[in-house]
């Protein structure tokens, strides 16, 4: 599998100019927003197929206008908010914080090898930092604040309880999530996602040696983004939303955007850490396309799990996080450490 990697990763003779980075950020932002918009549609359609229905198919051909119809409806909704808000600025800021951090986390994910165009260097990610894996987790943790603040400033006990429930879940599973990727970090001997992708190309996709870590990451990742079967933050059939009960219209929409973009980010992280990122044994030129393809498969699995698995009870959720995933992820990291040192 050893191919001339130096040719794939265009070795930067000069650094990326700042305005190219800005344009790249804008493109990625738009791409993420579009992915989010169509993710809502595709999720409903795939969910429908799994349940022997069609899903939305009325707005435009095959329902492709549905996300835009939803957007217009959300924007036009009355921005109703609780009476007697003590911190109106925080109330408005919480969803913004959540959504911003969700978008920000994606900026370090590599989706291509970098290109040289008209003498300018274009990187395969928005920002190339040597500790990008840590950045993703750090920004993901800040996003939890949006949830906690949003539930707390809503001046409603149900929103507060929901925020506590969500906060506890996110904090618990972040531990398992971070520990499950430790094996990958040890094997690649780097925290840079670009390096991890390159290391997988040199050896083998890390899903093979890190299958246990992958399992932990997959379960903890689903819990971390609050998706079924861990969607206790918003158990729509039973308790109907938690931290964002007092939000409506596009303010609620921002929380929804944050959830979906988180899902996309975690999927992208999974692709990067365990499935070789944008590289594939053949046809390296189509880096971003391979990346999108792998991303689509992982996202499908998210929807598939939602259609298949019943929601966990809260104590089951905590048991799974602390008593099952955490020990397994720790053991996996320790075993990988021994292996890396000895071999």
């Amino acid at each position: 599998m050893t191919l001339p990697l130096a040719q794939l990763l265009v070795v930067a003779p000069k650094r990326e100019v700042w305005w190219i980075g800005a344009i790249e950020a804008l493109v990625i932002l738009m791409a993420l927003l579009l992915t989010f918009a169509f993710m809502t549609l595709i999720e409903r359609k795939v969910l429908g197929r799994l349940q022997l229905r069609y899903g939305p198919n009325r707005a435009g051909p095959f329902g492709v206008i549905q996300p835009f119809a939803d957007l217009i409806k959300l924007v036009r909704k009355a921005p109703f908010q609780p009476d007697r808000l003590i911190h109106p600025a925080l109330y408005l800021g919480a969803p913004v914080l959540s959504a911003t951090m969700a978008f920000l986390a994606f900026s370090v994910i590599p989706w291509g090898g970098g290109w040289e165009l008209f003498g300018y260097q274009i990187d395969g990610q928005v920002v190339n930092v040597p500790i990008s894996l840590v950045v993703v987790f750090a920004i993901g943790s800040i996003s939890t604040y949006g949830v906690l603040i949003g539930g707390w400033v809503s001046e409603s006990k149900f929103a507060l309880l929901g925020a506590m429930r969500t906060g506890a879940q996110l904090v618990s599973y972040e531990v398992a999530l971070a520990l499950s990727v430790l094996g990958v970090v040890l094997m690649a001997r780097s925290l840079s996602l670009t390096e991890i992708v390159a290391a997988q190309h040199r050896t083998i996709w890390y899903i093979v040696p890190q299958i246990v870590g992958f399992g932990c990451f997959a379960i903890a990742g689903v819990a971390e983004v609050g998706r079924a079967p861990f969607d206790l933050p918003e158990a729509e059939q039973e308790i109907v939303a938690g931290y964002h009960v007092e939000y409506s219209g596009m303010r609620w929409g921002l929380f929804q955007i944050a959830e979906y973009v988180h899902m996309i980010t975690v999927s992208a992280l999974m692709v990067t850490l365990f499935f070789g990122g944008w590289l594939f044994p053949v046809l390296h030129r189509f880096g971003p396309i391979w990346f999108l393809l792998k991303l689509a498969i992982v996202l499908f699995c998210f929807i598939w799990a939602r259609a298949s698995l019943p929601r966990l009870r809260y104590d089951q959720l905590m048991n799974l996080g602390w008593k099952v995933l955490l020990p397994i992820a720790t053991l996996n990291a320790v075993a990988t450490a021994f292996f890396v040192v000895l071999v």
């Binding site: 429908g48 197929r49 799994l50 349940q51 022997l52 229905r53 069609y54 598939w304 799990a305 259609a307 298949s308 698995l309 099952v324």
Partner: protein, 166 residues
Amino acid sequence: MIGSTLISVGRSLGVTLKQIFRGTVTEQYPEYKRPVYPRFRGRHRLNLHENGLEKCVGCSLCAAACPVDCIRVVAAENSADNRVSAGERYARIYEINLSRCIFCGYCELACPFDAITLGNDYELSEYSRSDLIYTKDMLLAEPIKRTPVADAALYDTPTPYYRTDS
């Protein structure tokens, strides 16, 4: 314990994945209207004799039988130069408030002349409540929308005689 959990999770994932290949069971309603049961109780009709006279004699038995009081009948005398029904009197006003009607069919049972029967039409939405008060002219006229009706032979029910002989 973890192993059995993983196996059951995998099995449930398999069950749902199989459903994708089964296609859908949804009927796309406005494009496809499933034929209704032959004796489906829908919108009312007022019937005529073969010679064009109304069957209704304005006896108000339907209004008396109606459990939700949605029928209003005001009768008038037939005269030689204004003969509307076959009987002594006729319904000068015959209104059914379909926003109240529960389609129980008691009016049909109460009617001694089979003047009022329940048809098969169920697409009765209107933008205003007052539009749902059907007058005598509307009930006498042929329905504008035709509702597909399943073949009566498929079911073990006789076709009502008022459908065959008028």
